[in-house]
């Protein structure tokens, strides 16, 4: 469905947004494209949707080269951008009509498509409402409906659930899954949300610094880290020597450090845990908390992009001591500080990266630098408790 071959994009400013990217998306899959800010996700999607020309390399979408035959490519896909794209000054039905006319559909076909899409997205009740009056979740459904007006086999979704509340997000996921299963639509999805990828994607590509860092199914990527993960936090500050010590130990496959915390990835964590604690003592360290988990997608993400994030966003990581914890918690709950943190970064990205600026995007919650909690505990909190907990933190 999509074939990208040694694709490179260099902007006039000399900035290399993506470098030598090669991968394929096959028909019928949901491909999740994941990466931190400025990783080049939007650039890639803009090249694939014929909005940008690549500097070198080639991209073939639905069998057509994006540079040589942009018109055929445009007819073959649907696109849901970061900004809404439907006109708030028109009604739902008018937007769908307009969209269908721009794809030059015959009037009778268009009527059928509109009633089909209104049914599919449960928008019948809102068909004659102003788009400006719709809720965020409904508007997003309309965005997707409008993108499907010409029955494309391929749909690009650029940050589809940005700024939606958790309920709308999981609703939207259900629609996206149905599209894929029932309509056989191939989906190319970019996102900042790890849980989204883990929930939806059949295959994931992790992009960082303009390069593909890893590609595979979510399980493959998790397995690449080892079966278990031991989270340790210490009373003492960690030194590089400590880090090297743990790296050198036999069953440990991978060590990731976040300030005074460590994540150790290994096989058979249960059996190794006592040994690990022994090593901690040997090193003259005192463990404050110890948690044994299965690697989650945030572990994968940390592994492939963590280094660069530390380099680029040291400040953010320092200011948000629960950076990893946020992910861990969000992993369990779909919503959390980490997510908001991402949203903030994402907005900055949108502001500098996209031509139109991030004005029309999600509503940020600037005051929300939610108080941080100990991460291992959050991880184990059940959903309900955690929500109550959030209330408490806010009061603090």
């Amino acid at each position: 469905m999509i074939k990208i071959d040694h694709l490179t994009k260099e902007y006039a400013s000399g900035r290399r947004a993506i470098q030598d990217i090669t991968f394929q998306v096959t028909s019928g899959e949901i491909f999740g494209f994941l990466g931190p800010n400025g990783a080049g996700k939007t650039t890639t999607i803009k090249i694939l949707t014929t909005l940008l020309r690549p500097t070198s390399g080639s991209a073939v979408v639905s069998g057509y080269n994006v540079v040589e035959n942009p018109l055929a490519v445009r007819m073959s896909f649907g696109y849901v951008g970061q900004q809404s794209g439907v006109d708030p000054a028109l009604t739902v039905r008018e937007n769908l009509l307009l969209q269908g006319r721009l794809y030059h559909l015959a009037p009778s076909t268009l009527r059928e498509r509109i009633s089909f899409l209104l049914d599919l997205f449960d928008l019948n009740g809102a068909a004659d409402m102003w788009v400006g009056a719709l809720s965020g979740g409904m508007k997003r459904k309309l965005d997707i409906g409008a993108a499907l007006i010409h029955q494309p086999r391929l749909l690009f979704l650029d940050e589809p659930t940005l700024g939606l509340d958790p309920q709308s997000r999981s609703d939207l996921w259900a629609y996206i899954r149905r599209l894929n299963r029932e309509q056989g639509v191939t989906l190319f999805l970019t996102t900042h949300y790890l849980d989204e990828v883990d929930q939806l994607a059949s295959r994931v590509g992790i992009l960082d610094l303009g390069r593909i860092q890893a590609i595979g199914t979510p399980d493959q990527l998790k397995d690449s880290l080892g079966a278990d993960c031991i989270h340790l936090s210490f009373k003492q500050p960690l030194s590089d020597a400590h880090l090297a010590f743990f790296r050198g130990k036999e069953p440990i496959k991978e060590v990731i450090r976040q300030e005074d915390r460590l994540r150790l990835y290994l096989q058979n964590g249960r059996a190794t845990l006592p040994k690990v604690l022994q090593w901690v003592d040997e090193q003259g360290l005192t463990a404050e908390t110890v948690v044994l988990t299965r690697p989650t997608f945030d572990d994968v993400f940390l592994k492939y992009t963590g280094k660069s994030l530390e380099k680029e966003n040291t400040k953010e990581i320092e200011s948000s001591s629960s950076w990893g914890g946020g992910w861990g918690k969000k992993w369990g709950d779909q919503q959390g500080d980490g997510q908001k943190e991402w949203e903030k970064w994402k907005k900055e990205d949108a502001a500098e990266g996209s031509s139109a600026g991030g004005k029309a995007g999600a509503v940020a919650e600037p005051e929300d630098t939610a108080p941080q909690k100990e991460w291992p505990q959050q991880k184990d909190w059940p959903k309900k408790d955690w929500k109550e907990g959030e209330g408490e933190w806010k009061q603090k």
Partner: protein, 264 residues
């Protein structure tokens, strides 16, 4: 490929896309007609206040008209065109921020029709505004365009509006931000007005301003509209119309070029 779609037909699509988009903009204007009237407030204030302020200008020797409002009305008509057109680009930015433009650009829509529909819509709005202005000006004592002039006013106004809104849209596409566009719009429209015979007869201007005004499309707009008011279409009127047509076509080509280019 989806079976619903027909094969590309550039010419047919250009016409139908332009028509579809023009209709959409028209529908939006129809629903919010207040903006059309709003655009008239400032020109009307000028017509009334300037008309009073410089009333005695008409007594100066060599003044071409009997009273100043009569002289001023064509100038204010051109001013309405300038103000109205300079907003066209700002509306384009609205489409950019809402992602509406992006959505258009990923659709198999003719690029040129995206520009053309906007220009036609601005032209249409301005023609409606000018119609209202002509009526009000008549009540204020400016009289009506005479003879064939009554038709040619619309042609002149349309050419000028399409030309200026093409420039405004192209600038919007280049600048991509509202603030500099509004500032540039303001910075350009007033000098264009002052360097034209809109407010003062050209003979009253210093020599250097007269020379500058010859390079100003608004000058030809004012002269053409004024000729329409007189109802005497001399060769100089046709000259003005030719300049307006040239300006309009050149600006449209420029805007189309900018839109087609915007892919790097």
């Amino acid at each position: 490929m989806a079976p619903l779609l027909e094969r590309p037909q550039p010419v047919k699509w250009f016409v139908s896309d332009t028509f579809v988009l023009f209709n959409k903009y028209l529908l939006m204007t129809w629903r919010m007609p207040i903006w059309t009237f709003f655009g008239l407030v400032q020109p009307l204030l000028w017509l009334i206040i300037f008309g009073q302020l410089f009333k005695s200008l008409a007594q100066l020797p060599g003044f071409p008209e009997g009273n100043y409002v009569q002289f001023l009305a064509p100038g204010i008509i051109v001013m309405t065109v300038l103000f109205g057109s300079s907003w066209s680009g700002v509306n384009l930015l609205r489409d950019l921020t809402f992602g509406i433009m992006e959505k258009l650009l990923v659709a198999p829509v003719s690029r040129s029709s995206i520009v053309m529909s906007r220009l036609l819509h601005t032209g249409f709005t301005v023609v409606v505004q000018v119609f209202l202005l002509v009526v009000v000006a008549a009540f204020l004592g400016a009289g009506l365009p005479r003879g064939g002039g009554i038709l040619w006013v619309w042609v002149a106004v349309l050419l000028l509006a399409i030309g200026f809104s093409a420039v405004s849209n192209a600038l919007a596409m280049i600048l991509k931000r509202e603030e500099p566009l509004v500032v540039m719009g303001n910075m350009l429209t007033l000098p264009l007005l002052f360097f034209s015979p809109a407010l003062v007869p050209i003979d009253f201007m210093p020599r250097w301003m007269q020379i500058v005004s010859r390079f100003n499309p608004a000058t030809y707009g004012v002269e053409a509209v004024r000729a329409c008011y007189h109802g005497v279409l001399l060769p100089s009127f046709w000259m003005s119309m030719a300049v307006l047509a040239f300006f309009s076509i050149a600006s449209v080509l420029f805007a189309v070029f900018i839109f087609n280019q915007d892919r790097s």
